[in-house]
Every structure is written in structure tokens, then in C-alpha cells.
Amino acid sequence: MEQDTIVAIATPPGEGGLGVVRMSGPEAIAFASRLFRPVRPGPLRSYRLRYGHVVDPTSGLVIDEVLVAVMRAPQSFTREDVVEFSCHGGPLPVQQTLQGCLDAGARLARPGEFTLRAFLNGRIDLSQAEATLDVIRAQTDAGLALAQAQLGGWLAREVRAVRAVLLDLLAYVTVIVDFPEDEVEPQDIGPRLRTSLQTVTSLLQGASQGLVYRHGARVAIVGQPNVGKSSLLNALLRSDRAIVTPVPGTTRDTLEETANLNGIPVVLIDTAGIHASNDLVERLGIERSRAALAQADLALLVVDASRPVEDEDLLIARLTADKPTLLVWNKLDQQDPAAPSLVSIAAHLAHPRLAATVATSVATGEGLETLVQSLVQVLLGGHAPLAAGEARLVSNPRHHDALHRAHEYLAAALAGWDANDPTDLLGGDLLAALNALGEITGESVGDDLLDLIFSQFCIGK
């Protein structure tokens, strides 16, 4: 019923190798081209699978390797242009791909909206649509129940507090515009605007963290044989006594263990079980490393500190080039004093996505705590982990989307205020921010604004 482009994750949430992000609408293909880099160049054709990478359009960093399917209107489920990304790398890349589509200009789909469009465009008939409608209703009711449950929750409380402040500001802006001749004390709204923006920023940060805490992350441990990968794995597993769950790897040649690192469920993927061989490729476990990396959000690249960096290290380092990578310089206790420093090794590796470097000794335990902290910090996007008991996670993508928009409008409002823009535009941004936040608490700006105005300001002829 609307003509914008919508996007959603089409596969059920949870673990699983594959996740599909579906986008539908007139600009689906244009938006997709902004974040998809095909391995072989050429335009996106209908009903052709294309292999390539999803990249962050601003940083150019690779998010995931994907297969992209394009179905042009009217030969698609919604009879609009549809693009589907099949992501491989677990929940985080799926979320990031979704975020990429939102950043490109798509809007998060409402429950059942793809079906609704399919119906409106004559793709499915009424009975099919009505069956879906039951689902829409159930989801809406569930959403309501969720909102009810959140009435006492911290997120609603925080958002409501921000809204109350913003509503005050909007009331003030409205009064000076609608009652220009009444005596209204001038207010400096800058500080309150700034504080609100900060709160939304930290909620938003909690939102991306929330996704990590909820969905966890997958970390591949790679490196030459005998650099200490397995002992590192065991050490990391030991560092937390609460949860150690060995599960079979998704490919024959890898081993997966889940550790709880500062509250984040981290699946450690080890290329263990590599046998001695004369074949370099097999000895280094290139294929296994690839397999492990393909499923990982992040790589731990282990290098032996007891000897100089070898060509084989560089070869493996290159495999990790499109993943955020932590360089672990292990066997610190056996370090050759003549060997180059960690810094120069990092420079020597020239890794494009090197997120941190840590020197460790699994044998003595030195540096392990630092490694865990660095790992957690990288997974949380550079932010400090939550303190114990501070369970402030926004794990709902809808809330994330709303916070994201509120953040944009508030930033615009603050910039406008600082630049002394006309009051009226400020009001527009405040209203848009309030409405975005209202999607979380289920409130809209209506007569409550007037109520507030008339209770706070003495106005009128």
C-alpha cells in the first residue's frame, strides 16, 4: 500500500549457517548495488545467482560473502523488484547486511508486509492473504503483549524519559511559533537536546551490543601448525568455567567449542586435527582454515613469537584479510630477544582489517586476560562491555531501527540549533525523533503536546 522499498531478515532467527535478507520495492536493486560487490563484474540480472561480497558502503570493508538473487517485477513474490542476499557467516553478518540495506534507504518491513504487497499487487489471492493476516494479527498482538511487558522494562523507561524531555522542547518550540505575541521565557534548549542525543546514542550502542550478546559470535582460530592454537583454544575455554560445550564442527575438518566470554556466547572454531604432511597446502590446512573462516565473524591469527615471521604466516594472514582479525603473538615466554617487536610484525603482515594485537603466553597465562578483553571489545564494535547486572540490551531490530532514525533526527535538530536555523525546522526534526521513539513505546505525538503546552505555558488571548 506504500511505494517505498522494504527489507527484512527472511529466515528465522537463531543459529544456522545461512541467513536470507530480503528486500522488495522500486529501489531494491539500486539499494542492493550500493552494498554488493560481485566477484565478476556486470549488471544484476533477473533469476541469476551472483556471488560476491556485501561491503560497508562507507568504509568499504567486507561484511560477508554472499549469493545474491534478483527477481525483477513482476516475476517475484511481491510483484515488485526483489533482491535476496544469502549470507553465510552467521547472525552478525546477516544483521549487518540488513543494516546496510537500511542505511542504503530501505525501510524495515512490518510484520506480514511482503505478503500484503503480494496481495495488493495481485500475486496471491484473498484466501491466501487472509491466512497471512491471522499471522499479522498474532504478531501484532504479540507485539502488544511485548510492549505491555516492557512497560516496566528499562528500555521503555529510558525511551519514555527521553521522549518526555523532547516533548518539553517541542512544546516550547511550538509555543513560540504558534503564540508569537505571548510572553514566553526564552529557553536554551541546546543542553537538553545534547543530553537526549547522548542517551539515544548510548541506547543505540546498547542495541548493536544487544545483537552480539543475543546472537553471539563465531571466532576462527587460524595459524601455522604448532603455534599454539589448540592450547589457546583450551585456555580460552578454561578462562570461563561456566559453559564449555563441545559440538561437532559444521565441516568435518573443524572443531567447534562454545565459550562464554564476558557474557557473550562465542563459538570458537579450531582447525584442529591437522596431520603432518609434506604438502604445504595440506600441512597448513589452507582449505580447513578457509572453511573455518567462512563461518566466522572474526579471526584469531596466531603467530609464534619464538621465531621470525615466515612466509607461511603471511599466507595464512592473507586468508583472513576480509575478516576483522586479532593478531595473537603467542609463546611470549620463549620469545627470541633478537626477534622483531610485535608492532613491526603487525606492520609486516599488513592486514587490512587488523583490529587488535595481543602478546600472550598460553603456557604461563600471560596476556590471556588482555586477549579476552580485546576480543570482547572488537565483537562489541569497540565499546566497553557491559558491567555485571547492567543488562541494557536492545535486541529487537525494530527498536534498533527506530533508535537509529531518532538518532539521525536529533543530530539534525542539534546541528540546526547550533547553526541558528529557523525554529520551525527544529520542530520538524523534534517531531520526527519523537515519533521514531514512539514506535518503541507505542505512543504518538498528538493532543498530549497541546496538553503539555497548556499546562506549562500561560498563553492565549
Binding site: V177, P180, D182, C458
Partner: protein, 654 residues
Amino acid sequence: MQHLYDVIVIGAGHAGCEAANAAARLGCRTLLLTIDLDKLAHMSCNPSIGGPAKGHLVRELDAMGGLIARVTDQTAIQIRLLNESKGPAVQSLRAQCDKRLYAQVMKETLERMPGLDLRQAMVEQIIPLQPTDPTDPRAARFTVVTHTGWQYQARALVLTTGTFLRGRAVTGQAAWGAGRAGEAPAMALGNDLASLGFPLVRLKTGTPPRIDARTIDFSQTEIQHGSRVPYYFGHYYADLEAPPAPAYHGEPAAIYPAALREGWRPQLPCYQVYTGADFHRLIRANLDRAPLFSGVIEGVGPRYCPSIEDKIVRFADKERHGFFLEPEGWKTHEVYVQGCNTSLPEDVQWAMLRTIPALRKVELMRIGYAIEYDAVSTGEVGADLQTRRLAGLFLAGQINGTTGYEEAAAQGLMAGINAARFAQQAPALILRRDQAYIGVLIDDLVTKEIHEPYRMFTSRAEHRLLLRQDNADLRLSPLAHELGLIDAARAAAVERRRAAAEALYTTLSERRIFPSADTNARLTAAGIGTLNNPASAADVLARPHVSYPQLRTALDLPEAAREIEELVEVTCKYGGYIERQQREVERMHKMENRRIPDTFDYHGLNGLRNEARQVLLRFRPATLGQASRLAGINPSDVAILLFALERRTSESRL
């Protein structure tokens, strides 16, 4: 004598006059009935027109052939531009008018209107007729009975009762039946509407005292002048017509100091005074005699028009309140005390005003009073302003729960248009929220429960950057011409204005400015600041605090009429915001355009929640967009409604 009219308008206030004008313009034989022909479009409260949002309504009325703007331009004693620095969407004009002159000019204007008859009569009864042949479009649907028993017949009826419907004025302990102070209320008609089954609600409004200018010490007031720059509410295109001369050519009364006699038109100032501690003490000491607090008044008053006693009780820590003393005309000594509406007893009104230094010896010519009146409950009229109970009966103005001359006039225009179209069997005209403030106003009236008299605010218009007063004609005049409200010459002038603005915008977009030393020197001299990179003239104009006249002088750019230059300036400066609003509008377009038949069977709609059904039955939204705005309707209700509408459409195709 012809007693059958296409359209009869009952009541000739601001709504009635516009309704009669619109119906006559659309070619209907129209009758305007009023209790007093000397009080057409009478300004029963303050002598001013316009202000934020209200001024926008006036501009829109003019773009659609309405009268309020042109009568204001002729009778204004002062015109000002408000919110000049607060953004293009909220700038608005406000005028003080000569109250008597206003009614007189309105009467003369209507008297000249072909096809329109004016009659003085009080209507006591409306008799719905059952046409013998319901398919006959020319059949009369109503008989209107006046106080003398005289009868008229009409195909469509517009009812604009203002505060007259069972009106009751209150001052202190005194209460008397009145439509306005000194005028009889319409009691019989109120009872008649109730007997026709219309649920009525009781609303309240109030007006301040009028004082004698000879008893004001003007030296103790602050003077507020009108604009030195010409401004008009009406659209007068240089290549079509000149703005009207003020209808008054004599000397303003000498009693008013600091009058502007020179300049683009003579103007009278307003004078500001403030209350003080003694004033507040006096009111507090007499609260037990205030009908507002003693329970004498039952009606609900507007919070944005609070009485002075209400302000002092609710904002007890406020040390002073400002009043504007507004002359009610060029010559009259009557002065309106804006900000002081009250229903306190007469002795308190005298005493409190005399605590103000400028008013130590003031004498009251008319006392302030509150007035309660009947309005028809929300849900009785649809978006075309037609009642659901009686086809062909249209309501406009305070009877729909609004307050304000401009709000009344806007509804009058729409009710007049739709009554005419009903009589002519043409589909109703409904303006959308993104088209006009008029659209916002009526959409609010049919989707919101009215708890207090409704007044227009800019904050009610979510697309207000699109609904500026500077583009009212560009938005609405083509439609008005299509309907027959304005003539081809005027429509062509509007298109020339649009083309001129677009041409200037193109010129500015294509003109590249390079940061040469000479150019930067000229830009700096004009107070614009320097350029670092090449940019278009439009980009430079988009910078904050750069005006087109500044830029034009610095860079020898073409000159255009002021309104054109301002329009282009707004386009350059706020283009991004305007586009954002346009995108929002387009996003909702399908919803807003999806009509719901008035006869839609909500009872037979499976799966609809009962609460939702009640709300939909009460408001009977005209579009899916309206349905989605109703309180108590959630997205899944809208989805169910949509499916049902689709099914209806597909079945009717079979």
C-alpha cells in the same frame, strides 16, 4: 416570488458568508438568511484576522475565491507579518480590522454577487422533505421555516449557527439568553435540531471588556506598529489587478497616538499594558464570584483562549500578564482588551482594569462575558461536512466545535462548495492534509473527538513545510479554477507566477559562481561571506542568513517580484526538508486515496475487534488514511479493512 433555491445558507457569520459566496460562484441560486443584515461576518470577539495557521487558512480561502482575505485587506487598520525569523512555514500575516467597516464591506460584496439573495429572518425549523421522486435531482429536500412562518425550500442546506444555538451569556451572577451580547439566541432551532436527532454538546467561549479610548493614558503603554512594508492577505497579481485601496479614506480618530499616516497605507497601532500584583490580588479575592469556578458555567472552554481569572489561578507564580489594547476601528473609541477575556462580575471587571497604570481612570463601554452554546457532536458530519442523518444538510463553523473566524470561514467555503455540488449532483470535494490547512482542519474535525472548541495551530499540520502561506495559490488555485470558483484570467496569472518562480530557480541552479578574488570581494561586501569552491547561485542562496536581494546585488542576478524572490529563496534554503515531507506524503498516498464508501457495512466485517468497530461506526472515515488516524484503531484493524475493501472491489467486478 421564487421560494425554491439550490442552496440556502442559514447564518451569515464568517462561515455563512463564505458558504453563500462559494455556492453562488458555482452557479447555484443561493439564499443567505441572517438574524441581522447589519452584522454580516460580524467580529464578535477580537477585531483581528490571521496569525499563525489562521493566516494560512485566510490565504488558502483567497486562493479558492473566498472573501475573508479581500475584505480584510480593505478594512484593516493594521497589518503585520508574524514569525518573520522563525522559518518559512510558520510566517503568517495578522491584521487588525475596523469591525463595523468589515461587516459593511462584506455586505456590499455579497450584495453584488450574482445569483445570491440576502434576507433577514430567524430560522426556527428545518423540515426534511421526502422527494416524491427521489431520483429527481431537482427535487427540494428541505423546507426552512422562519420566525414569521414564512417558508423557503432548498435542495441543499448549510447551517452555520455560531454561538446562537441556545446561546446563554454569563457575567458574574447574571446569565441571560443571547446569541451574542445584545442579540437573541436561536432557541427554537436548537430544540429543532435536537428533535431531528442530532446529539448536541455544550461548549463555551468568552470575550473581554471593551473600554473607552478617552479614558486610557496612552503615555503609559507600549506602542506596537503595523508593518512598514506592504503585505496583503489576498493574492493580487501585478499583471491582473492592483491590491484594493483601504475602504476608508478619512482621518483616523485623533484619540489614538502614534498612528502611521504615511507609507503604503494609513495604520493605527496597538498598545500594550501589563497586569500587576494589585490586579492579581483583586481577582483572587473575588474568585468565589467567578462563574467559571462557582459552577454557573458548564460548557467546556478552549484552553488556548483562557479567561484572565483562569490564567491567574493556573499560573499563580506568573507576576504579570500582557494585554494588547486594540482599537476596534478607525473612528470608534471602543478598544478591545486582548488577553483579558473574563466572566467576572461587572464591578470586578471595572476595579481590576483600574489597577493598571494606563487604565487608572478607565471606563468600560461593554463588559466581558462568557457564552455557552450548542454544537453538534463529533461523528455527525463527514469529511464533506454533510450530516449523516440528513442528506443535503451541511454544517460549518462553531456548530462543528471550532472557534475562530478563520476556522469558520474555511469550513464555510467547503460546506458551500459541497452543498452546491450536492445540489448539482457532483461528487464532494475533500482536501487532503497535505494539500491545505483547510484539509487538516476538516480531517481533524472528522477523526478527533472534540473536547474543547477547536482552533487551528501550525503544529497540527504535519506537512506544514508544504503548506506555506507563500504557496497557497500554487497549491489550490488550479483546483479552484477547475471547480469554477475562480476565473480563467486569475488561474492564468497563478500559472505565470509559478512559471516565473521556476524560471528564476532554474537560472540560479545553472549559474555557476567561481571563487575568484573579485567575486569573493563582492560577496563579502554584500555580507554573504566567501566561497572556497565553485557553487551554483542556488547553493549560495541555500546558506543560512543569505537573502536573494543580497545575492542579486552582489552578483548582478535578475530581479523579480518580491513574492517570486521569496518563493525561490524558500525553495533553495529548505529544499531538503520540503523533499523529505513530500516523500512522506507520497508514502501515504495510497492510504489517503483509498476511499471507504459511507455505506460500508462494518457490522459484517469478520475479525474486526469490537472497540475498533465502534470507533469506525462513530466516525465513518472517508478514507483508509482517516481510519488509520482514529484513536483506538491499530494497524491490524486497518489491514482487515483494506482486505474487506479489496474483496468488495473484486466482487463488484464479477
